[in-house]
C-alpha cells in the first residue's frame, strides 16, 4: 500500500484562490482561508509540487489572467493519471513496439503514468528553482514525450469541466469567454454579430441539475 500523499493548497503555494470577473478583474477570494489538504491519488507530494510549478510555467499566472495554479491543473492531472487514461485503458498496447515517424503517432510502451514518473525524475527540486531556471529546465525537455503530455494535460486542466478537478471556479472558461455547456443558444446564435457575447458560465452539474461522477472517479 502506498503511503498517503497530500497536496496542501494555501495562499502561499497558490498565490491565493483568484476568481476572475467577466471583465477579467482579479478578485482574491480566499487568501485568508485555512490551507486545503487534498489527498493525492497518484503523485507523491513532491511530484505534485513539481507538477504545480511546471504547469504554472506553461500556463502562468500573469497580467493576462489566472493560470494553472488557480485552475488546479495538478489536481486534474493527478486524477487523470489515477484513472483509465493514466493506465492507457483504451490504447492499443500489444507488442511489438517500434520506432516510427511522427505520422504514425505515439508508438511507445510507456503509459502516461510511467511517462510522468520518469519525466518528473528529471525535474528534481524544480519547484524550488527561480522562474528563469525553471523555464530553462523546461526548454531542455521541450521535445520530450513527457513535456508534450504535460503541456496537453495542462491545457485540459485549464479548460475541463470542473468536475474533473481542473478549471476551478471556471477560471479557464472565463479567460476565453466560454460559458460551458449551455442548453440553448437558439435566441443568441444569430445575434451579436461582431460583438463579444459572454453569458456567465455554468458547469455541467449546474446546467443539468444532476450530481455527476466523472469516469476517473469510477473504481
Amino acid at each position: 500500500m502506498r503511503r498517503r500523499h497530500f497536496l496542501t493548497l494555501s495562499a502561499t503555494t497558490l498565490g491565493g484562490v483568484l476568481v476572475y470577473t467577466l471583465d477579467r478583474k482579479a478578485t482574491l477570494l480566499a487568501s485568508q482561508q485555512k490551507p486545503l489538504r487534498l489527498p493525492l491519488r497518484f503523485f507523491t507530494e513532491t511530484e505534485a509540487l513539481i507538477v504545480v510549478a511546471a504547469a504554472s510555467r506553461i500556463f502562468p499566472t500573469d497580467e493576462s489572467g489566472p493560470g494553472a495554479k488557480e485552475a488546479g491543473v495538478a489536481i486534474y492531472i493527478d486524477r487523470q493519471l489515477a484513472g483509465s487514461y493514466g493506465h492507457d485503458r483504451f490504447r492499443y498496447t500489444q507488442p511489438p513496439f517500434e520506432d516510427a515517424p511522427t505520422q504514425f503517432g505515439y508508438q511507445g510502451q510507456a503509459t502516461p503514468r510511467q511517462i510522468y514518473r520518469e519525466g518528473l525524475k528529471g525535474l528534481k527540486h524544480f519547484h524550488l528553482l527561480p522562474f528563469a531556471e525553471q523555464d530553462k529546465a523546461l526548454q531542455e525537455i521541450e521535445s520530450s514525450a513527457f513535456f508534450s503530455l504535460l503541456r496537453q494535460n495542462t491545457i485540459e486542466g485549464m479548460f475541463c469541466d470542473p468536475m474533473h478537478g481542473g478549471n476551478a471556479g471556471m477560471v479557464g472558461w472565463q479567460l476565453v469567454g466560454f460559458p460551458g455547456p449551455r442548453m440553448s443558444n437558439y435566441d443568441d446564435v444569430d445575434k451579436y454579430y461582431g460583438e463579444a457575447f459572454r453569458p456567465p458560465p455554468s458547469t455541467l452539474a449546474q446546467v443539468t441539475g444532476r450530481k455527476l461522477r466523472p469516469s476517473e472517479d469510477e473504481p
Binding site: R57, I58, F59, P60, D62, S64, G67, Y85, D88, R89, F90, R91, Y92, T93, Q94, E98, A100, T102, Q103, F104, G105, Y106, Q107, L138, E142, R151, I155, E156, M158, F159, C160, D161, M163, G172, L175, V176, G177, F178, P179, P181, R182, M183, S184, N185, Y186, D188, V189, D190, Y192, Y193, G194, E195, A196, F197, L204, V207, R210, L212, P214, S215
Partner: protein
C-alpha cells in the same frame, strides 16, 4: 460450439446502415431479424448529461476501444505497417448507433458524375488524363437511379437545407451545382452565425455560390414518415463526438431504434463480437450464418438465411478476409477484389484566418453554416489545372470548445507555452477560423487493405492493414485549395492568414474525416468488385454488404446520406424481388 436457433436475417453491426436495414425489413416483412452489435447498448436519453468536452471530444468515449482492436498503417507495400495505437485521422464509433451517434450530421448528396467517375472523366478528358496507377471505377448505379432514395433519406432524417436544383430548375441560394432533386428539403436551413455570415458574404463578393449546408441536425420540429417527431436544434454546439442532448441531430437511436422497438421480429444483441461469416462453397455457394463471441465470452454459431455485413468500412473488409470469402486483392497483378480501392478524403484547413472581432464560436451546430461547391467535382472550368476533380470549402461555427481549440495561433507567434503564448492564445481564442476544404480522393492501385501479418486483436485475429498515401493529384488539389482559401479569408476581412503549408505523407495523427471508404466495392462486373449494384455479394447471393466500404472511390462530401440511400435501394430490392426469388438481383 453452441448453435443458436436460426433467424431469417442476421445483421452484423448496429450503426446507420445495419439498423436502417433492420428497420426496413422489420416493418415491411415478417422476417425474424437479429442485429449483432459488439459495442454497448445506447439510447437517445443517454445524452442528457454528456456535454463534457474532456470525456467525449478529447478522450473520445464514443469511439471504438482500440485496446481491443485497431488497424495498422504503412505508406507503401515496401514498408512494415505499425498499429495506430490511439485515435487520429479518423474516429470510428462504437455501440448501438455506431458512428451515426457522434457524427456532425452534414447531409449532402454526391454529385451525379461521382457515380460514373471513370466514364465521365475519360469521356471528357480521355484515358490519358487519369493518373498512371489509378484504379478509378464506376459504381454501377447512377445518380438518377439513386435520387428517389436520397429523397427518402432526407425525409427520414428531416434534413434542413435549400434546394439549388429542383427538377432541373436552378435556384439561387441553394447549391446550383447539385444534381436535380425531385423535392425541396423537408425543413428550412439552420440559423446563421456571425462567422458563417462572414464566409457567405465573402464568397458572394468573389462571385461564388455559397449555400446552407444540408443538416440532419434540424432547424425546426419535424415528424418523419415513420411518425418519429424531433425538436429543432438549439445550437448548443455539442455535436461532433457527442450524442445530441435533445435529439435534434438525427441519430440511429432517435430515428431508427424507436421504430425497430415496435416490431418484435427484430432483436438487437449487444456485446456480440462477430469473428467469421460461415458459408458453403459451390455447388450451392451461400452464407450460412455467423460465429461470434457473446457478452459472456462464449463463441457461438448463429445460423441465418440472409447475412447483412454492416460493420463500418474496416470490419466489412476484414470479416470477408478473415472468413475467406472472395479473393484478396493483389496490388501487383490487380487481380482479386477484397481490399481494393481503399480511399480516405482530402480534408485540410486550407487556411487559418485570424480576425479582429470576436466570433462567439461556442454557439452553433456541427452542420450549420455554408458550403461552397464552386470548385467541387468537375463543375468548374479547370483550364490547365494539374489535377482531376475538386472539393468544397466550408466555414462553420460548429460549437467550439476550449480544450481542443485553445492555442490555434498565427505562425507569427513562435512560442508554444509561457506568458507570451498564453496571452496570444487567449486573444485569438475566439478570433480565428479555418477555411476548411474537403476534396475527392481518387482510388489508386497501391492504396488498399489486407490482413496484417504481425499485429492481432484481443481474440488473436489479424488486424486490418492499411496501405495508404497521398499522390500528386491530392497534393496539387491541396495547393489549389490553399490559394483559393487565402482569397476567401482576405474577403472575410482576416487580419492575418496562414495558408495550408502543403500535404506531406499521410498523417494518422491529424484528424481528417471519418469518411474512410472502399475495400468491398460495388460495381457492374464481378472481376472488379465485391458486390453488385444492389450491394449483393457476387459469389454468395444471400450476403449483402452495406456501408462506405462499397464506395469505389470517395467523393468530396460526407458519405452518410449516400450509405443510407444505397441501403434503402437494397432493402427495396430484397423486399420486392429477392424474397420472392432468392438469388442474384442484378
Amino acid at each position: 460450439m453452441k448453435t443458436l436457433p436460426a433467424v431469417d436475417a442476421v445483421v452484423i453491426g448496429g450503426g446507420w446502415a445495419g439498423l436502417l436495414m433492420a428497420k426496413e425489413l422489420g416493418s415491411r416483412t415478417p422476417l425474424t431479424i437479429l442485429v449483432l452489435e459488439r459495442g454497448i447498448p445506447r439510447k437517445s436519453s443517454d445524452y442528457a448529461d454528456t456535454m463534457d468536452e474532456l470525456e467525449y471530444a478529447i478522450r473520445l468515449r464514443m469511439m471504438q476501444d482500440l485496446s481491443q482492436e485497431t488497424v495498422t498503417l504503412r505508406h507503401n507495400s515496401a514498408q512494415r505497417a505499425l498499429p495506430l495505437r490511439q485515435h487520429g485521422s479518423f474516429q470510428p464509433g462504437a455501440g448501438v448507433g455506431g458512428s451515426g451517434e457522434h457524427w456532425n450530421a452534414l447531409c449532402p448528396r454526391f454529385l451525379p458524375d461521382v457515380f460514373e467517375l471513370f466514364s465521365s472523366t475519360t469521356k471528357k478528358y480521355g484515358q490519358k488524363s487519369l493518373p498512371e496507377d489509378h484504379s478509378i471505377r464506376d459504381w454501377g448505379v447512377t445518380y438518377g437511379e439513386l435520387e428517389p432514395f436520397y429523397t427518402r433519406v432526407e425525409k427520414l432524417l428531416g434534413v434542413s437545407g435549400k434546394a439549388g436544383n429542383l427538377n432541373g430548375r436552378k435556384i439561387e441560394g441553394g447549391n446550383i451545382f447539385e444534381g436535380p432533386r425531385s423535392e425541396e428539403y423537408p425543413t428550412p436551413p439552420t440559423k446563421v452565425s456571425y462567422l458563417s455570415s462572414l464566409f457567405h458574404d465573402a464568397a458572394k463578393s468573389l462571385g461564388y455560390h455559397p449555400y446552407p449546408s444540408p443538416s440532419a441536425t434540424i432547424s425546426q420540429s419535424y415528424t418523419n414518415p415513420d411518425g418519429i417527431a424531433r425538436g429543432g436544434c438549439t445550437y448548443c454546439g455539442f455535436c461532433a463526438r457527442f450524442g445530441c442532448m435533445i435529439g435534434a441531430k438525427a441519430q440511429p437511436t432517435n430515428v431508427l431504434l424507436p421504430v425497430i422497438q415496435k416490431h418484435n421480429n427484430v432483436a438487437i444483441r449487444t456485446g456480440a463480437w462477430v469473428r467469421r461469416i460461415q458459408f458453403d462453397s459451390p455447388p450451392k455457394p451461400q452464407a450460412r450464418g455467423v460465429t461470434y463471441v457473446d457478452a459472456t465470452g462464449e463463441e457461438v454459431f448463429q445460423p441465418a438465411s440472409i447475412v447483412f455485413l454492416a460493420s463500418w468500412t474496416f470490419n466489412n473488409t476484414r470479416l470477408l478476409l478473415l472468413s475467406g470469402i472472395g479473393d484478396p486483392y493483389n496490388p501487383t497483378t490487380s487481380l482479386g477484389t477484397v481490399g481494393r480501392n481503399f480511399t480516405h478524403q482530402l480534408s485540410i484547413p486550407a487556411a487559418n484566418a485570424f480576425f479582429e472581432k470576436p466570433m462567439n464560436r461556442f454557439m452553433g451546430s456541427g452542420s450549420s453554416g455554408f458550403l461552397l461547391a464552386d470548385f467541387d467535382g468537375d463543375v468548374f472550368d479547370r483550364g490547365s489545372l494539374p489535377f482531376l476533380r475538386g472539393g468544397c470549402f466550408a466555414v462553420r461555427a460548429y460549437g467550439f470548445q476550449p480544450i481542443g481549440n485553445f492555442g490555434v495561433l498565427p505562425r507569427s507567434v513562435k512560442s508554444r507555452w509561457g506568458s507570451e503564448w498564453k496571452k496570444a492564445a487567449i486573444y485569438y481564442y475566439d478570433r480565428t477560423s479555418a477555411i476548411s476544404f474537403t476534396g475527392e480522393h481518387l482510388a489508386y492501385k497501391g492504396n488498399y487493405v489486407d490482413l496484417d501479418p504481425v499485429y492481432k486483436d484481443k481474440l488473436g485475429d489479424p488486424l486490418l492493414r492499411l496501405t495508404l498515401d497521398w499522390r500528386d493529384n491530392e497534393r496539387k488539389m491541396a495547393e489549389f485549395a490553399a490559394a483559393r482559401a487565402l482569397e476567401l479569408a482576405r474577403a472575410m476581412g482576416a487580419r492575418e492568414i496562414d495558408a495550408f503549408s502543403g500535404l506531406g505523407p499521410y498523417d494518422s495523427t491529424r484528424y481528417q474525416t471519418t469518411h474512410v471508404q472502399g475495400g468491398t466495392i460495388m460495381g457492374a462486373e464481378p472481376e472488379h468488385s465485391v458486390v453488385n449494384p444492389y450491394l449483393q455479394h457476387w459469389q454468395l447471393p444471400n450476403l449483402f454488404v452495406l456501408g462506405g466500404s462499397t464506395f469505389p472511390q470517395n467523393s468530396s462530401m460526407n458519405p452518410t446520406p449516400t450509405i443510407l440511400a444505397l441501403t434503402l435501394r437494397t432493402a427495396d430490392a430484397i423486399v420486392n424481388r429477392y424474397l420472392k426469388n432468392p438469388g442474384p438481383v442484378a
